[in-house]
């Protein structure tokens, strides 16, 4: 165990964990965040995605110590005083969730990609989401929501 400083959603936290512990469990169980979730633990599905310094990462295979002091954003940080961040609002507008379990990964992957590639095309968005899985078949609405956000960011 060792003390690690994490900057999550604009706040600093010190956690006392095994430095190799995957970030996912620290976010969920030490910082009590609900957004990132376990889908595979193998980096294959996207359920655990968070954004570190603007890049999306799979927190299930990221050792906690490797992101010490970096700016980490989880989906929980995309709600401010009850107001949804535009990308979340886009997902709500398009009713882009069935069970919703995969959508954390969709939102965070798409946000990181679009913030770096404003006005991303539909094809580019689909390619960016290629490593994310949705079992409910919500793909059309997910892409439509991401596209709405891309148009807003690029406007």
């Amino acid at each position: 165990m060792s003390l690690i400083n994490l900057k999550v959603n604009g706040r600093s936290h010190t956690v006392d964990v095994d430095p190799t512990a995957p970030l996912l469990y620290v976010l969920r169980n030490d910082l009590l965040l609900n957004g990132p979730r376990f889908g595979c633990g193998l980096g294959q599905c996207g359920a655990c995605t968070v954004i570190v310094e603007g890049e999306w990462i799979r927190s299930c295979i990221t050792p906690t110590s490797s992101v010490e002091n970096f700016a980490i954003t989880t989906i929980d940080g995309l709600v401010t005083e009850g107001k949804l961040h535009p990308i979340l609002q886009a997902f709500v507008d398009h009713q882009a969730a069935q069970c919703g379990y995969c959508i954390n990964g969709m939102v965070m992957t798409a946000k990181a990609f679009i913030d770096q590639n404003p006005r991303a095309s539909e094809t580019q968005i689909k390619e960016a989401l290629e490593g994310n899985i949705c079992r409910c078949g919500t793909h059309m609405r997910i892409v439509a929501a991401a596209r709405q956000y891309a148009l807003e960011v690029g406007a």
């Binding site: 165990m1 964990v17 095994d18 512990a21 995957p22 469990y25 969920r28 169980n29 009590l32 609900n34 957004g35 979730r37 376990f38 889908g39 595979c40 633990g41 193998l42 294959q44 599905c45 359920a47 989906i75 929980d76 709600v79 009850g82 949804l84 979340l88 997902f91 709500v92 009713q95 882009a96 969730a97 069935q98 069970c99 919703g100 379990y101 995969c102 959508i103 954390n104 939102v107 968005i125 689909k126 390619e127 989401l129 290629e130 994310n132 899985i133 949705c134 079992r135 409910c136 078949g137 919500t138 793909h139 059309m140 609405r141 997910i142 892409v143």
Partner: protein
């Protein structure tokens, strides 16, 4: 009566903002018991709007009582003194929007705005047991009961108002919980004033004993209502996975490495170095570990040294599976007679030509995006509260009672949002019992989630089919004789959680076939037909990775694949347009309407397949059509591109014609259609469980891939509303015609027939070689 709605033009007449995520309506009920409600006032007083989930969790008393009776109006509707209304149902919303449909049905009959109705679902202590949420039955079967309960409550209230206002009941009307005189709306009394805090004390009337609204009286049914749970699901606040209890620790379980392996010994010293290890739990062949921290529980599960009995082959070789299935005979005694119409032998004798094809469907998994997860809290005094995201909270109670040795009245299972499961958790979600076993063993609340390899490896799976169809046709190609044989393992056998089968299995049954929709019955007017479902024995496999179980629309996608691909073969043999070939052999109006609706929307040109002029090399396009039925009538047109050099199929577009009778919420219907089609394109193109003789080898998303973002088609739905026909389900039927429509489109594009799902590039290349 019917009217057609285009999915692109659904008028959204009711819309409201997504509720703030922290006001979590379903999870908010956690912690209330009916007994709590009843305390003091003799009434059920519900007040949740301002109380957060965490607070409710803190306040929660542990387990309670038996489920409320499913025959009492009070079990479904409660009106508090302040007039607030709560609806209760044992059915749970698996992300399909059914709770909106059911609430709309209550709202309609009760005449209370649906936005004002709080909704409590799937709590074994609070809600009536209406059976597992399976088979697209919520709206179809539970819905009518809720409507009758609502109508009975309304009648009861209007009768009370009649006495109070001194006016005959037929001179009164109701608007959003206010009873008023038709002649003078200022003469009025509210539901809250009439009954608030009191019980109705009446039974849910039989269907012939209560008048429910007719379609022309509907205020809310049939309107497109948007879901308000999207944000909370995205943010994850309402998931069972995120239930946190004071003192909660983390469990993982370890599955047998080979089928039917027995625990010989467990070397606990192998994990003694894992920090925060609380306990290694061994009961029969069930092994689990509990640790203070989740990542350490995972590590302990990896490290624990278990000696298992020697591997014994349990399954046929995968390459041999279909041959093996052909050698088996029906497991039932006596074997039921086939379903027949006319005289199939005479039909064949009179036929000008006969044809036959065999279609193969593999083991497929539900592949829930999250492995099953649950939290259980078993206290020293033998009370258990568990939070489950499965499909059958009431059903979990009995397993916990049996395996933990608790009293039924002491066990409460509370359903909380979970991932989509598509039938996986219809009999059992597995995790709830396992969390309870571990919690009992350590005396603390335990959160448990299966590992991905265990979810892939040990979820109960949809069994394979070998379907052989023979047809005799007349000189025009019309079918005179249809002989259909469907060989498959049990579709509905897994009735107990994995841990229960590892610890104390109940006697095995041969399982059952499934009496649902398709069953291979052609809905076409063939004068002579014989339908033979053969239930193959698949015994002694209930603890293995090939536990045979219902998968979304059990058996139906395979049966429709065979029927509808074969119809396409017959149409091509007769050189007739495949749509016309179907239309000329049915007189059923609903069948005709959905076929035409999909074809028209697509812009179907009548011509036989294959498409004239397509090259035999490079990328070619084609279109295919198919029909399906599972109470709800569905037609699909698929448009595909086939790369003849690689064998890769790209499904570009799927149009669904859809008639589910009375449509409750068109928005939900469209969402369900989109999801089913995209999921099923993946099932048709790439999903096949791989295994060897000892175990399942599809254990992650690489070895069992799902459809990707660069592979999904555009889905369009044409909805036919038939307000006078009872609603059919919408969570399964739309997937049925999809594999056949794709296979038929590939034939249209290339002239090659696909008869084995999934339609992998290798199989496509093989079929191209053989064309």
């Amino acid at each position: 009566m019917k009217n057609i709605v285009d999915s692109n033009q659904i008028p959204v007449t009711q819309e409201h903002d997504d509720a703030l995520p922290e006001i979590v309506r379903q999870a908010a009920e956690i912690g209330f018991t009916r007994r709590d409600f009843l305390k003091g006032t003799g009434a059920l007083v519900v007040s949740f709007s301002l109380v957060g989930t965490e607070q409710l969790l803190e306040d929660s008393g542990t387990a309670v009582a038996q489920s409320p009776s499913a025959t009492k109006v009070d079990s479904f509707v409660v009106i508090a003194a302040d007039g607030s209304v709560t609806g209760y149902t044992g059915k749970v919303d698996l992300g399909t929007g059914t709770s909106y449909g059911l609430k709309m049905m209550l709202s309609e009959e009760l005449d209370v705005a649906h936005e004002r109705i709080a909704w409590v679902q799937g709590d074994s202590a609070l809600t009536p047991n209406q059976g597992a949420t399976v088979g697209s039955q919520s709206i179809r079967n539970a819905g009518p009961v809720i409507r009758r309960a609502g109508a009975a409550a309304r009648k009861f209230l209007v009768d009370l108002a009649s006495k109070k206002l001194n006016l005959p009941a037929d001179q009164l009307d109701v608007n959003d919980g206010v009873v008023f005189a038709k002649s003078d709306p200022t003469i009025k009394v509210t539901y809250g004033e009439l009954v608030g805090g009191q019980k109705f004390g009446i039974d849910v009337p039989a269907a012939n004993n209560i008048v429910i609204k007719t379609p022309d009286q509907f205020k809310i049914i049939g309107k497109a209502i948007k879901r308000t749970d999207i944000a909370q699901r995205i943010l994850g606040e309402s998931f069972a996975h995120n239930i946190r209890r004071p003192g909660m620790v983390h469990g993982r379980t370890i599955k047998p490495p080979t089928a039917n392996a027995k625990v010989v010994s467990v070397d606990e010293s192998s994990v003694s170095g894992v920090p925060g290890l609380i306990k290694v739990v061994v009961r029969g062949d069930f092994v689990g570990v509990v640790c203070e921290r989740e990542e350490n529980a995972i590590r302990a599960a990896e490290l624990l040294k278990i000696t298992w009995s020697d591997p014994v082959p349990a399954f046929p070789e995968q390459a041999d599976l279909y041959n093996y299935m052909k050698t088996l005979s029906d497991a039932r005694q006596p074997v039921p007679a086939p379903t027949t119409v006319g005289d199939v032998n005479a039909g064949f004798a009179a036929s000008a030509k006969t044809y036959s094809s065999t279609y193969l469907w593999p083991w497929q998994m539900h592949a829930a995006f999250s492995p099953m997860a649950a939290v259980a809290d078993v206290t020293a005094d033998g009370k258990c509260t568990a939070w489950s995201g499965g499909q059958n909270p009431h059903g979990e109670v009995a397993h916990i009672v049996r395996i933990l040795g608790l009293k039924e009245a002491d066990v409460r299972v509370i359903w909380v949002d979970g991932p989509g499961v598509y039938g996986r958790a219809g009999s059992t979600d597995d995790a709830t019992l396992e969390a309870a076993i571990l919690s009992q063993a350590v005396g603390r609340p335990v959160r448990l989630q299966w590992l991905r390899r265990d979810e892939h490896g040990f979820e109960p799976k949809g069994p394979p089919h070998v379907i052989t169809v023979k047809a005799g046709v007349d000189a025009t190609g019309n079918v005179l004789a249809w002989d259909y044989e469907d060989r498959h393992f049990p579709l509905v056998p897994v009735r107990e959680p994995h841990a229960a089968a590892l610890i104390a299995p109940t006697p095995e049954s041969v399982g059952s076939t499934d009496g649902s929709g398709g069953n291979g019955h052609p809905y076409y007017n063939f004068p002579n037909k014989k339908i033979t479902p053969i239930l193959l024995p698949w015994v002694n496999k209930w603890v293995t990775g090939l536990r045979s179980n219902h998968n979304r629309a059990p058996g139906d996608p395979a049966r429709h694949m065979a029927t509808e691909c074969f119809m396409d073969e017959l149409a091509a043999a007769a050189n007739v347009d495949p749509l016309q070939f179907r239309l000329r052999q049915t007189t059923d109006q609903r069948t005709i309407d959905v076929l035409n609706a999909a074809a028209e929307r697509y812009g179907w040109q009548a011509r036989p397949s294959p498409a004239p002029g397509n090259s035999r090399t490079g990328v070619v396009s084609g279109r295919g059509i198919a029909f399906g039925i599972r109470q709800t009538y569905v037609a699909a047109v698929a448009e595909v591109e086939v790369d003849q050099s690689t064998g890769v199929i790209l499904v570009k577009r799927v149009i669904i014609g859809h008639d589910c009778g009375l449509m409750i919420n068109p928005d939900s219907v469209v969402q369900q259609i989109e999801g089913q089609v995209i999921q099923t394109v993946g099932r048709a193109l790439m999903e096949e469980v791989m295994f060897d003789q000892y175990k399942v080898t599809s254990i992650d998303w690489i070895s069992y891939p799902l459809i990707k973002f660069t592979q999904y088609p555009t889905v369009e739905a044409v909805l036919i509303n038939r307000p006078t026909v009872a609603p059919g389900g919408v969570g399964e039927p739309a997937l049925n015609p999809v594999p056949a429509a794709i296979g038929n489109a590939v034939f249209d594009a290339t002239g090659a027939r696909l008869r084995q799902v999934p339609f992998t590039p290798e199989r496509v290349l093989e079929a191209l070689k053989n064309r």
